[in-house]
């Protein structure tokens, strides 16, 4: 009987000791109610805007109807009112959110892949490769990137969404690369790496099958925070008029109506919902990112 009990206990311990991966993250979110709420809200906004946008006819949305010019929320069947051209704000909000989110995800994936690859290669090999990339990264970080991105946006012929994604990515991978490199540097000194080398594992396999999985928690956090940052930068540039092309409305397009003095002063329903949606997205994603960071570090965990 006692033996059985011990066995059960042992089994439980065995099950709970490798507290890695998603179970740790799940525990952290269960402990921190605000993080859980943020996660749900962010997931709802992302999934909701993407699914809802399938049911919106974009051409009909952008049709100009002067009768509905600046309709107030609730008027003429517009739940959130209408803009100068009489277009539905709610519909633009959904389509804009979808575009902003998908483009931020694309930039996050490209910069993440590039940053992680360069970071791990620099940290693993060290020496000249490392020195070269670090000087390059230090230099790119000090560049006035907002201004250079704006210049590229204005001078590139046949400018489209993909050119925007590539221009942004060219400047945004450096932060990730620097962070990953510093972690990969210390990870490369570990015994398991030397052991793999002795066994004749190829450098490529050590870097991307050995070191990378060991950095995964850090990478998840970094990508989450980058995603939030990219939403902010994309909407900001579109707000200034140098982001997404007009054919692809983003949340920044709606906010940019506030550049008009009467709109910002009197027609709050045109620009404020988009601003608040950006704000909620940023706060939510960042809070999720912080909870992920805590769960990646055993010393800071709440759960």
């Amino acid at each position: 009987m006692e033996q059985q009990f011990n066995d059960q206990q042992l089994q439980q311990e065995v099950e709970s000791t490798p507290a890695t991966g998603f179970r740790v993250i799940w525990r952290e979110f269960k402990k921190d109610k605000l993080a859980m709420a943020s996660l749900i809200i962010v997931a709802l906004i992302i999934l909701g805007s993407i699914i809802w946008s399938f049911f919106i006819d974009q051409e009909k949305l952008m049709e100009i109807s002067l009768l509905d010019e600046f309709a107030k929320p609730g008027e003429n069947g517009f739940l959130l009112g209408a803009d100068q051209g009489g277009s539905d704000i709610l519909g633009q909000l959904i389509v804009g959110a979808k575009n902003s989110i998908i483009i931020a995800i694309a930039i996050t994936i490209i910069t993440g892949a590039l940053g992680i690859a360069v970071g791990i290669i620099c940290g693993y090999y060290g020496g000249i490769v490392d020195n070269f990339f670090m000087r390059l990264i230090d230099f790119i970080i000090t560049l006035p990137s907002t201004m250079i991105i704006i210049v590229f946006v204005t001078i590139i012929p046949k400018y489209n969404v993909w050119s925007f994604i590539l221009i942004m990515s060219a400047f945004m991978w450096v932060g990730t690369a620097r962070l990953v490199r510093s972690k990969a540097l210390s990870e490369s000194r570990r015994d398991y790496v030397s052991a793999s080398k002795t066994m004749g594992t190829s450098n490529f396999a050590i870097m991307f099958k050995g070191i990378m999985p060991n950095l995964s928690s850090l990478l998840i956090v970094e990508m989450t925070l980058n995603f939030a940052g990219n939403v902010g930068i994309e909407t900001g540039l579109t707000f200034l008029g140098f982001g997404l092309p007009d054919s692809t409305p983003s949340l920044g397009t709606l906010v940019s109506f506030a550049n008009n003095q009467t709109v910002i002063a009197e027609k709050w329903w045109v620009w404020l919902p988009a601003s608040l949606l950006i704000l909620i997205l940023m706060l939510g994603i960042n809070y999720v990112g912080q909870a992920l960071r805590r769960s990646a570090d055993a010393k800071q965990r709440l759960g």
């Binding site: 250079i148 704006i150 200034l240």
Partner: protein, 320 residues
């Protein structure tokens, strides 16, 4: 000490060279040249060709680059064809406005961040600490243009506490106190917006620094000598934790410049950031290239300043 400063300066030279080369290539990629604006239907194409030849636009690129650099060293950045004045004088006027805005912003940032960081670190895990951490989280997450717009809407248009654009009320006499106050009054809202965003880094750094110092040996020694905790904080911990904060000064400059494009556009503040957006819309390329060069140079200078201050206050990190 001086060795470090000189070495750090030497690192900056290749950086400046690459920066200038990059901007030169960017400038060459821009369509048109200084004479495109002069072309009218009556212009003789041969005359334009002559002018191009005289200005050296048909030379190989490296000769053009040398000319460009030589002109920069003489303070000649070309002319702005929308404003019809030399770029140097145009940027000079706008630069003063941005300089004042930056100065007030930095002062405000430090005035807000240092007390908050100190309180959060000293009273860790109390309600005060938690609200300060929440504040710094929000200011970290919120994008510049969203905060600026919301502030402008609430304090400028709804409450009407502050003016919504410009740097000064023109009704005042130029050398009067009223003029000066009007200038300060116009600065407050953009500066507060900037400071709200910039405090995060300093607060978080100061807080963790103070929390870490509490377990350091020098604090234990001071306590065991019988010094009251209050004095340990004011005389020992704060002094040690505040020094590296000075190094944030350089980064603050870089941050302000990056944010100035948004903040100046939204608050209608005629500084360099707004000038940049106007020049982009007007395709005024000589102004654009000069501004990027200037911003890049100031950012490099900022990181140089930070490194030098840091090496003064913390001898461990000097470049060998």
């Amino acid at each position: 000490m001086w060795k470090t400063v000189v070495r750090r300066f030497l690192i900056m030279i290749p950086q400046l060279f690459v920066l200038s080369l990059l901007i030169f290539i960017l400038a060459k990629m821009m369509p048109g040249d200084p004479f495109t604006g002069l072309i009218t239907p009556d212009t003789d194409p041969n005359r334009i060709e002559e002018l191009r030849e005289l200005a050296g636009l048909n030379d190989p690129w490296y000769i053009q680059y040398m000319h460009w650099i030589a002109n920069i060293f003489q303070g000649d950045f070309g002319d702005s064809y929308t404003f019809k004045v030399s770029v140097a004088s145009l940027i000079g006027d706008r630069g003063m406005n941005t300089l004042w805005l930056s100065l007030v912003s930095v002062i405000l940032t430090y005035l807000i961040a240092i007390p908050l960081g100190v309180i959060a670190g000293r009273y860790q895990n109390t309600l005060r600490d938690k609200s300060i951490v929440l504040y710094s989280f929000i200011s970290y997450a919120i994008p510049t243009f969203v905060l600026a717009l919301i502030f402008l809407y609430i304090f400028g248009y709804q409450l009407q506490w502050f003016p919504t654009s410009g740097t000064v009320d023109v009704s005042h006499d130029k050398d009067s106190w009223g003029y000066f106050w009007s200038k300060v009054y116009h600065l407050i809202l953009p500066a507060v917006t900037y400071a709200f965003l910039a405090t995060t880094g300093i607060i978080q750094y100061l807080r963790s620094e103070i929390i870490d110092s509490q377990t350091q040996d020098y604090v234990k020694t001071a306590r065991s000598k019988g010094i009251p905790m209050k004095k340990v904080y004011t005389r020992h911990i704060f002094r040690n934790s505040l020094l590296p904060i000075a190094a944030f000064l350089g980064f603050s400059i870089t941050g302000i410049l990056g944010g100035s494009v948004f903040i100046e556009t939204i608050f209608g503040f005629p500084g360099m950031g707004q000038l940049f957006i106007q020049s982009i819309s007007a395709r005024d390329y000589s102004v654009i290239t000069t501004l990027i060069m200037l911003y890049g140079f100031l950012a490099l200078l900022g990181s140089l300043l930070s490194d030098i201050i840091l090496s003064i206050v913390d001898p461990r990190i000097r470049i060998e």
